[in-house]
């Protein structure tokens, strides 16, 4: 007897992206993605020595754009120091974009691939690395094709190697990527030291998100002063956000740090709730968001971590509880299936959330499962899922209370759907 397959993502991966012109990374998108157009706008590939590169990324406080917002300078320094003692370092561009609702990395792939590559290649050369690895998305053929075309146009001094990530949600995790590059299943493994110190083949592995590399590339081309023209004094530059809605092509916006988040949200957000940070993110009502400024430390302090910049606007007719249930069902199926707490705990958490959707009391169960899941796995997949579930209780207590009484915010008539109904 066959088991049912894993639950699908409530937000499907989109091969199309609606890219909004921006002030920095996304300026001149009408130029097209060719190398010729890129050279016309930015000039030849930048070359930089390691001390200058370190100084630049430190001065602008560049953080990674893959979700953890880790200071890039710290990672760069770790790789540089380890490179002295071990075999040659490698640079890895993570364009796997494993989160279905995200589209910012694919947007860069189709309109600014050479900025990504310039940043990665210049850093590789500064580090003395002769290999740049690109990890492409398994389920976005247009982005994959564009990156291959861009690579084919170039004549870099480093060897560029391409890999295609699996379609699992966890496939884009750093160690999973290193495993993939090594010819093993692309699943997270325990990291005893950071990959910047010892990763691929035991070599210092500077792995960062595609947008991080684009930011580095742009910084090297335009210089510190121009880079710092956008953003705030404490947080220089811009960041890419994906605004996601059910049934709509995802929109990618470039936003300077300090700008109002609400400015890029559609009018429909006013009457609805928003999931900030994607499937491992946090629910927020419009009232909470109306004055929020886009900022990594700022939004962290508000308990609304930006993550990889995904903002999903729930359909005004949708139920956030039902949607959360569908997300947790999906995330449970996306586990690598190897770490016991995640393998066992996520399906149990999904069942508990379904109970809450059905109006039953599962608060204690969810609390116990949450404490059992956090910090007990090779990656942050269980932690992120717990964050999502906890946020429903924190941000949407009225919704939970309504379900207890047999109602739902998605009710529009007597014949409504509760569990299983989501938007």
């Amino acid at each position: 007897m066959t088991r049912p397959g894993p639950a699908p993502s409530p937000v499907p991966v989109s091969d199309q992206v609606e890219i909004h012109p921006g002030p920095a990374l996304l300026v001149g998108t009408a130029d097209g993605p060719t190398l010729t157009a890129h050279h016309r706008r930015y000039g030849p590939p930048p070359q930089v020595d390691l001390p200058t590169l370190e100084a630049l990324v430190t001065a602008v406080g560049l953080r990674g754009r893959g979700g953890a917002a880790f200071p890039f300078a710290t990672k760069l320094r770790a790789a540089a120091q380890a490179a002295g003692a071990r075999r040659g370092p490698v640079v890895v561009v993570n364009l796997s974009e494993g989160e279905p609702a995200s589209a910012k990395d694919s947007a860069l792939a189709v309109c600014r691939p050479h900025l990504v590559l310039d940043g990665a290649v210049a850093t590789a050369r500064a580090l003395g690395a002769d290999e740049v690895h690109l990890v492409l998305p398994g389920d976005r053929p247009t982005a994959r094709h564009q990156v291959r075309q861009a690579v084919a146009e170039r004549r870099d001094q480093v060897r560029v190697r391409l890999h295609t990530a699996g379609r699992r949600f966890v496939s884009g995790q750093a160690r999973a990527v290193v495993e993939l590059m090594s010819g093993r299943p692309g699943l997270p493994v325990t990291a005893w030291v950071p990959e910047a110190v010892s990763g691929y083949q035991g070599r210092p592995t500077l792995l960062s998100n595609a947008e991080t590399w684009a930011q580095v590339g742009r910084l090297l081309h335009v210089g510190q002063a121009e880079f710092q023209r956008h953003g705030t004094a404490d947080e220089a530059g811009t960041t890419l956000l994906t605004v996601s809605r059910q049934g709509a092509v995802p929109q990618v916006h470039e936003v300077p740090f300090g700008a109002r988040l609400a400015d890029v949200l559609p009018a429909a957000a006013r009457g609805s709730v928003v999931l900030v940070g994607g499937f491992h993110g946090v629910w927020a009502t419009w009232d909470t968001l109306v004055d929020v400024r886009v900022s990594v430390p700022g939004m962290d302090a508000l308990g609304l971590p930006l993550g990889a910049g995904i903002v999903h606007v729930l359909d005004p007719d949708g139920c956030p509880l039902g949607f959360t249930g569908a997300v947790v069902d999906y995330l449970a199926g996306q586990s690598a299936g190897r770490c016991g707490p995640c393998l066992n705990g996520l399906p149990a958490l999904a069942a508990a959330v379904r109970a809450v959707v059905d109006g039953r009391d599962a608060d204690d169960r969810i609390d116990r499962l949450a404490r059992m899941l956090v910090g007990r796995g090779a990656c942050a997949h269980p932690d992120g899922t717990v964050r999502l579930v906890r946020s429903v209780f924190a941000a949407l207590p009225d919704e939970i209370a309504a379900h207890r009484q047999g109602r739902c915010s998605a009710d529009r008539s007597v014949a409504h759907q509760r569990s299983g109904g989501f938007s």
Partner: protein, 73 residues
């Protein structure tokens, strides 16, 4: 120097030897996987080392630093 027990989660198969050898520090969740409560005090270090050696999956390590994990770049 603080010692911490760290579980190599993809390897752990809930065999439970760590719990049997070091119940002061290791509990079990409802599926039999280890729950590590805090650091290893010096007087239990020898037992902790036994637990590390005894794990059939080589899924337990004694480390000097607090736990960390990598992200996605």
């Amino acid at each position: 120097m603080t010692h911490q027990l760290r579980v190599d989660w993809p390897r752990c198969q809930a065999r439970g030897l760590c719990y049997e050898l070091l119940p002061e520090i290791v509990g079990l969740d409802e599926w039999g996987h280890p729950l590590v409560h805090g650091a290893v005090p010096n007087d239990l270090l020898a037992h902790a080392r036994s637990a590390v050696r005894a794990c059939p999956q080589v899924a337990l390590r004694l480390v000097d630093a607090p736990p960390r994990r990598s992200a996605g770049g």
